[in-house]
Symmetry: C2
Subunit: 304 residues, 2 copies
């Protein structure tokens, strides 16, 4: 089976990790959101790409889901003493990723080439691609005006009320080198349980057309997001946050939908929107959960 997975941050990374343990390297390509990339202190930072790579490599902090395991914060502590910006936490190990990537980007290398080399260095065997080699910037329209994504997400801790989103640069940005080829070869596309608004929509907007069966996994369980502001965003835009809302979000693209056992009463309604559904345990607490959900989803795809 040949799979392309679309992933954002922590939730997407976990399922991608489960898929990587269930599929051979040549069977899986993970296309990662780069809409929340940003430049900070002269560093080009790709939060979702790093979360996915660190997770696949077994380097991720198991407590937070993002950042590095066994991280130290000597850079950050000393930066704060100098009065530097402290709202975005940069660990000492993590810094190597940002500084070396920035250096190579400035020398004209593409983000996909750099990502490929970093994956090789980290021992990641499955293909990980940024959605685009060109910048796309997720802008959050809020009651306090438009904010760059990390400004909204980290600096303002998702406090401003969301009114909508804009993906700056999306018209000019094409899929990264290799992404189109992977989609052409894919038997199916999996939309990982990432934020539909700010993790998956940017990828879908860049990729534009997917002429393959698409299966989406709800990142919302029991009306709340497992992690991050997805539920808050739905609510602020006047949509009751639920697996049903997510299914509706993907109604024009997905032909299969995976929801949690906790939401089984929504199954009939979702079936009205998307033909096929799988009701299973979707919460990934342990390493085993990741593999189990991946296998469930792959089996579901096989049955479509």
């Amino acid at each position: 089976m040949n799979i392309v997975a679309l992933a954002g941050g922590v939730g997407g990374a976990k399922l991608a990790h489960g898929l990587a343990q269930s599929l051979e390297p040549e069977e899986l390509t993970i296309i990662v959101n780069t809409g929340d990339d940003f430049e900070h202190m002269g560093l080009y930072i790709c939060p979702d790409l790093d979360t996915v790579c660190y997770t696949l490599a077994g380097l991720a902090n198991p407590e937070t889901g993002w950042g590095r395991a066994g991280e130290t914060w000597n850079f950050m502590e000393n930066l704060e003493k100098l009065g530097g910006a402290s709202w975005f936490r940069l660990g000492d190990k993590d810094m190597a990723t940002h500084l070396e990537r920035t250096r190579r980007l400035k020398e004209g290398e593409s983000l996909s080439q750099i990502t490929e080399d970093f994956c090789a260095a980290w021992g990641i065997k499955h293909k990980v691609l940024p959605m685009s080699d060109l910048p796309v910037r997720t802008m959050v329209n809020t009651d306090e005006g438009e904010l760059a994504f990390q400004e909204y997400f980290v600096h303002r801790r998702c406090e401003p009320r969301v009114k909508g989103f804009r993906f700056d640069g999306v018209y000019a940005a094409g899929p990264a080198s290799g992404a189109k080829e992977a989609l052409d070869l894919a038997d199916a596309v999996i939309i990982c349980p990432s934020n539909p608004w700010v993790s998956i929509d940017p990828i879908l907007r860049v990729v534009k057309e997917i002429n393959k069966p698409v299966v989406a996994i709800s990142p919302i369980i029991g009306g709340t997001a497992v992690k991050g502001p997805a539920a808050k965003m739905y609510a602020e835009m006047g949509i009751e946050p639920s697996a049903l809302a997510v299914a509706s979000h993907y109604r024009n693209i997905a032909s299969g939908f995976v929801l949690d056992n906790m939401d089984r009463e929504l199954d009939a309604g979702i079936k009205n929107i998307i033909m096929k559904t799988l009701v299973t345990d979707t919460l990934m607490k342990t390493a085993e959960d990741r593999v189990r959900l991946a296998k469930d989803v792959l089996h579901f795809i096989g049955s479509l």
Copy 2:
């Protein structure tokens, strides 16, 4: 007594530290070589300025004389795993200095303003100035061609044979904001025991005129440099490395010279070049040595 000290790296920093413990903040300005500043991985790095500041702040690594005490190397380890440049060691704590300075320089702030703020953050009460706010780059002419200073010094470990030096940018660069004023107010100028060729000469070239009594301390004791390539440089340029060679180096500018007890047989010869000399213990092994030498030098200046 109002003193301006000219300093390079480790040796200069040690005497500057001794002077700072012997003079009130308003009595001492330290002007530091920036000729070995360089850009590396997008960071603007000022090795001598950082060594002087870390030393004055009590943050310096006591083993090496440069870098930070209790430094960690998680950035460096991870950079090496990614195949990044490893010849210039960047510690995790030290990184905060480079990244924040680079960020502020890119926003158009001057190196002297940034240095002033960093000194305040580090609790340094005496004034520390870069020699210039404009770039001056020490270039080393060697038997393998011209090399940028850090390329010669760190990357090539001073292996190529030195034929001469060039200070790129020196004609356009003026003294940093405050340097001229400090020199105008000074009763005397102390040339710290730093490398005459690559630490002090760049400062003298930028400052141009010093119409004050100048006292120099030999960085060469018993024919060898306490630290660094000064003796090697003299030898490769056909000059026997000695306190006498250093005195000759400063013959047109210094009116007082401090040499080590070990070199007392050179005293008569040095007196022929520079009128007044002080023979004393100049090797600074301990914190007390720094203060003792500083007090000796200040007393010597008082006697001139």
